[in-house]
Amino acid sequence: MMQLSDIQIIEKVINGDKSAFNELMDRHEKSILNFTYRLLSSRTEAEDITQEVFLRAYKNIETFESRAKFSTWLFKIARNLCLNKLRHTFRFPTFSIDKPIRGSEHDFQRQVENKKQVSPASSLLKKELQDTVKAALGSLPKNQKAAVVLRRYEDMSYKEISTVMGCSVSAVRSMLNRAKQTLKNRLKHYAQK
């Protein structure tokens, strides 16, 4: 059976077949979730934002213009929500009373992590590498980070990224150039191997 395109599924949803929206979610939920996760570095927040993205898409599906790709539209919503979230977090940082401050003597998580030192060296190295890559990505400015994630993990062209980010192709090129230089400098130690 021939697979329906996103646009055809959207038509079905608009015509009353709400369950067809499940198909759209099956196709794009994972990408959006990982995009938001990489921007926010928190699974819970990423899940909340992903749900909000699909709620907004569902609510406004009739305003979707079929000239654009549905995935691009979703990424655009996701990017805006993530930036709002990051701005809000920056302005109003929250601290958990349950979670100990990293590095303090009550940082049990750290103590548990230290116990992991007895685990195989390769596993530790892998964890260390993951943390370094995560930190390198996290060190990028918000927009550069979004551009990198769209390019690296979603394999979007510069043109598509510019649509999601609402900027010119040359701005995307410049953002990615700077981001790649930063990543190269921060990951030099591993990249030389």
Binding site: V13, I14, N15, G16, K18, N22, M25, E29, K30, L33, N34, Y37, R38, R43, A46, E47, T50, Q51, F54, L55, Y58, K59, E62, K126, L129, Q130, V133, K134, L137, V148, R151, R152, Y153, S157, Y158, R173, L176, N177, K180, Q181, L183, K184, R186, L187, K188, Y190, A191, Q192, K193
Partner: protein, 151 residues
């Protein structure tokens, strides 16, 4: 092209986002310059390291929660049922155009044309003349009044 310029083009080159001409220039340069070649390798390796990040999967609970929210927020109002809001949103430009068309067809006789404007102008002029005629400027002036008394 010198090494500095080539290094600026490397990120775009690695993404295959350069124009064909520039891409060929970079390719040729890399085949002869070991410094730029190792820089390109470093950039590519750092970029590939991003693969090491974990990928997460959406949970089934999240999907169930999504549909619960759509129902609680009463979003579930797609077609089958006629919606005035949707109707007005879709057809408002057409309705505005139709109203303007009807207005212009039926009321065009009532709108002032150049002939009407000419008549109005003449009436105004006549009215002004009448006012001027009725004004007895000489007698109203105080100086004239005094003179007339002396006479």
């Amino acid at each position: 092209m010198n090494c500095l310029k080539i290094k600026k083009l490397l990120p775009g080159f690695l993404d295959s986002e350069l124009e064909q001409e520039k891409e060929e220039l970079v390719r040729q340069h890399l085949s002869t310059c070991s410094e730029c070649s190792s820089e390109a390798k470093l950039l590519a390796n750092a970029w590939n390291l991003l693969n090491k990040l974990e990928t997460i999967k959406p949970s089934k609970e999240a999907r169930a929660e999504f549909w619960e929210k759509t129902e609680s927020e009463e979003l579930d109002k797609f077609p089958n049922v006629f919606s005035w809001n949707r109707f007005l949103f879709r057809w408002s430009p057409v309705m505005v155009a139709a109203v303007l068309l009807v207005f212009s067809l039926f009321y065009k006789d009532y709108l002032p044309n150049s002939h009407d404007k000419e008549i109005v102008k003449n009436i105004e002029m006549l009215e002004n003349l009448e006012i001027l005629e009725n004004l007895d400027l000489l007698t109203d002036l105080p100086v004239v009044k005094e003179e007339s008394v002396e006479i």
